[in-house]
Symmetry: C2
DNA sequence: CGACCCCTTGAGGCTTCTCAAAATCCGTGG
DNA sequence: CCACGGATTTTGAGAAGCCTCAAGGGGTCG
């Protein structure tokens, strides 16, 4: 098996601190599932740095020293693992409110890359740990977050292990629509922050197969494609049926 | 796509409390990664029930009310998700010391089934939660466990999304050997507690493909198969090479 | 000894990948 | 405003890996 497709060689760029908010982002306060109370907010803010990241910027790579924890304020990030020959698998897409870099070992297990301009809160690992020791309630909530991550990963494992290409695409579109709706962003048509290559690497397919499935769904009049990165779901019921059709 | 293979229809069997330990199990104390201290041990034991389970017994199914948390004392358990048409994906195998049933929602996200005679500690959900509220240290350790689970799941996602059949088998054998060695059990030859069907459902393959890969590895003299459920790794380096060969 | 289950092996088909090229989009600059 | 170059997406043809279907082998247990 050769390389899945040409991988963009993007060297890690040192992150720039920035006091001016991303122009495309409205200011959002730090949230961990539910908004924090005053005490939590204060203690976390004390050790946090707000950072604004460019599109396609590597935040860290698999194997790097895990020295920071991040919380996304706005934007999107992909998590991925790669093999020696260049094959890449995206393990998840993150959005506002999501955490990354939370792991116990001293190196990151995945690489993180922004899909668009992204604003994050950055916590030094040790400082974050100390705040947690101080706030059992916060740790409690992080445990819930981690458990939700496990559930999401298990769903993805089912998708990758047992679903056909069309089922994967249908499942993906439904999931994206739900997540976008849950965040209160404009749904239908939804806008995908990722390219075909990133969708392919997320679903364990090739760019061509992703494109062909999109085209087929459009010809069946189940979705509309006003632009390459915009998807209008025209027939939700048929899309759901396709997401688990044998 | 038709059914992956005939699924054994196993109805949930009410679990039997048992005071006599499994005969194949040596007594083990409750552990959560590291052994618990006296206080933790006491508080957890107060709400725990020791249960002995038969092979191929369903502990709970996807969608069931999540009323208990379990910790495996000895034996093996598979976690799986299924689709309406019978396709099944095993999301993980658990062994002594592992937790299951830890999730935030009120229903289980996966089904759990014993692979062999298995002994577990069972905690009512509410009681477990209360003990946790009392012991921040314990919750801290559970967070580490959950984060390790996420890392394992990400590895499996890479395997399912991007690896060939032979790479999956090689990766699986290496992982099994490592886990068995880490538990201080006899390695080389290692004994697999799961059938070919379960290996297939774990690796996103069919029974036949799993069998063909095993045979091929044996003919290459990379592994030995003294019995169907025993694997001797003869050339670790070549097996590791195969686990990520293009 | 025979039934049953699990595993192995074989032949053929199908989904998806690979390789290739055309079409579309988009920012840049004349 | 339009031409140009690069990147992304789409489409096509053929190949390959894995699945499906089918049959045979080996072990266990009654």
């Amino acid at each position: 098996m050769a390389e899945i497709h040409a991988l963009p060689v993007r060297k890690p760029i040192p992150m720039q601190k920035s006091n001016d908010p991303c122009q495309t982002c409205t200011a959002r306060s730090l949230t961990i599932c539910a908004p924090l109370n005053t005490e939590e907010q204060a203690k976390l803010s004390a050790v946090a740095t707000s950072v604004c990241l460019q599109p396609h910027q590597m935040m860290f790579q698999e194997g790097d020293a895990a020295d920071h924890v991040y919380n996304i304020t706005c934007g999107s990030v992909s998590l991925s693992k790669s093999m020696a020959d260049g094959r890449r698998q995206i393990t998840g897409f993150l959005g506002p409110g999501d955490f990354l870099g939370l792991n116990t070992r001293d190196t990151y297990g995945v690489s993180a890359e922004t899909l668009m301009e992204t604003r994050v809160c950055r916590f030094p690992r040790q400082a974050f740990r100390k705040v947690l020791d101080d706030l059992p309630q916060l740790e409690h909530r992080l445990l819930a977050v981690a458990e939700a991550e496990v559930a999401t990963a298990q769903e993805q494992i089912l998708l990758l292990g047992r679903k056909t290409a069309m089922e994967r695409i249908a499942s993906f579109l439904i999931l994206q629509a739900e997540r976008i709706k849950a965040r209160g962003m404009p749904d239908n048509p939804i806008s995908l922050p990722m390219t075909r290559a990133e969708v392919a690497d997320y679903l364990g397919l090739t760019i061509e197969t992703v494109s062909r499935c999109f085209t087929k769904l459009r010809k069946l009049d189940i979705i509309g494609l006003p632009a390459a990165d915009r998807v209008q779901i025209k027939q939700t019921d048929r899309l759901k049926a396709l997401s688990q059709a044998a």
